[in-house]
Symmetry: C2
């Protein structure tokens, strides 16, 4: 094991678990700060979780896994270590949010090149841990390896949702209205800023949605609890692609109204991003969801603005209408991070 990896494991073990029991004879690692569903965390062949996380619940277990690879999902010269750690975990938390679930435990597989700066690892780990603490989950394990090239991370998040209540992509029906939380395109527009010539380093404070996005966990849970969303997905790949996933899994189509799509405001001085970023840019980690016609949606839920941007149709295609009502078919355009 490399020194940097050992340091990360130790940091995660001590900071997240708060036990300091490494090397002791203690079997079941428990602490007030560790999510109580985790009976055995880092330090055995497997983590041992007692699900459901609270007694007398009936729940299903959610599992999601997401890569974060240097040069593909981030660049070390653009993204501070804290932002890399934060975005790494947000990918998984946002998937849990999109099912209406609650996160319980995270697992980090991390490969670092030889001779890697300890300071980077420390900032990366602290950011991961503080985001986990904010949302009540704990790191329960993972793997470390030497990387052949660059930083390679894979985050697994395990969550829970009341039995049979997970909000799937496949529940949209013709006539449902289509909503999105927050604003779209902010992350992709930030990437465009960084890739444009002359290249420049951005101040993360003015581009929060890219560098430090918040997962919409509370919103997702409220939509599930109140039975409001018939289908839901997070906008990790971009609106056109993620909406296509809902339509494909539900066997429906959709009509979007271009004017209604909430476009992100980023930078300093602040400017509104172009429609193409809101349509095709990924990694905004907002929630896109459909609502049956009979149900009312407030303008804000859990402090997050909610906007109706279209509705679900019988046909299998997605149309985008402009202000004059003229429409054209919208093809999903995959979001390729820094390769665009």
């Amino acid at each position: 094991m490399l020194l940097a990896e050992k340091a990360l494991i130790d940091q995660i073990r001590h900071m997240a678990a708060g036990t300091g029991k490494s090397g002791s004879a203690g079997a079941m690692v428990r602490s007030a700060r560790l999510n109580p569903a985790i009976l055995v965390g880092i330090g055995d062949d497997c983590a041992v979780l007692r699900m459901p996380p609270r007694p007398n619940q009936k729940t299903d277990t959610l599992v999601t896994t997401d890569f974060t690879l240097e040069g593909i999902h981030f660049r070390r010269d653009w993204h501070p270590a804290g932002s890399v750690g934060h975005r790494c975990l947000v990918r998984g938390l946002s998937d849990i949010a999109a099912m209406g679930g609650e996160p319980v435990a995270a697992f980090l597989s991390l490969a670092l090149p030889r001779k890697f700066p300890q300071s980077w690892v420390g900032l990366f780990a602290r950011s991961l841990i503080s985001l986990a603490e904010k949302y009540g989950l704990s790191f329960a394990g993972g793997d470390t390896a030497e990387s052949p090239d660059g930083i390679l991370a894979d985050i697994v998040v395990v969550g829970s949702v009341p039995r049979g209540k997970a909000v799937l992509r496949s529940g949209a029906r013709a006539g449902d209205r289509l909503y999105v939380s927050g604003e779209l395109g902010g992350s992709a527009a930030t990437v465009r800023q960084m890739t444009q010539k002359p290249k420049r380093k951005l101040n993360p404070r003015h581009y929060q949605r890219h560098f430090f996005p918040e997962p919409r966990l509370e919103l997702g849970q409220i939509l599930r609890e109140r039975n409001l969303a018939s289908a839901m997905i997070d906008t990790s790949d971009g609106l056109s692609t993620d909406l296509a996933h809902i339509c494909e899994e539900s066997g429906v189509g959709a009509e979007l109204e271009a004017e209604r799509i909430p476009r992100a405001v980023v930078g300093k001085p602040a400017w509104e991003v172009a429609l193409k970023f809101a349509l095709h840019g990924g990694e905004d980690y907002e929630l896109l969801f459909t609502v049956p016609g009979s149900k009312r949606i407030p303008s804000h839920i859990a402090g997050v603005p909610i906007t109706q941007i279209g509705h679900i149709t019988r046909g299998r295609k997605i149309f985008l209408r402009n202000r004059a009502g003229v429409g054209h078919e919208l093809e999903p355009r995959g979001w390729e991070h820094f390769r665009s």
Copy 2:
């Protein structure tokens, strides 16, 4: 998404799930061949698992995650695609075995370079899937990405174990006897064969324990059911390192008898590997376990030979004794795959 990755997802979706429901309106994907604990597999934001996997059980959930990185854990010129897929999943299955657990679902995060041969991916996926089918688990999700360099895989295995019954590393007590399954050193000796000059390609059939190791799942479950093992670990890092893990977590020491350590027989014509490979070589995926003095262990369990190789002591150190009874302290030597 790259074509090769799409092909893998499709293959895993169709071969493992056996549903062919991609794109249909079906919500909960079920099939006879899919582990029944998996309610929603590939194709939503998260997999949805209903644990415990059988009704009216009380179980704990096991989670393990393991990297398999090209150039670190395998080399494409030495390891056929089928061996890479097999070893990738065995790493996780062996961790489940070491807890006495039963595997339920696997998740594959896979990053491939651009322009990657489809045939390789097909063989890799088939091998993964056939091993999963053999042990009753199914692929329930994962992630794909473009790799900046080489093949990067991270396998997550989720399993179950009767509540409170997971066999931990921390249960060894002074006086317990120390056992190992099968033979040790075969995998590391195989790697040495391949790294020696003149370099040569080996026939995987004569080096099964390296290219196609079997996880000791049935053995682990029997040891747990019959309450025989007080502590257990799999020999993924090598005997000296894995025994040190048991000693550290249990707060004990150990004495090993060099003559008793079962050394692997590999190659054609077959030869017995040197003691150093059995002591320090990793990736044999045998089970190393401790047994209280009052319990009897048969010479074979589930068809696998079981050998007593030493016992647990009060002191915190590990000693290796030769035939004459002369001992010296054994330091754990980390197993570094192809860097040795």
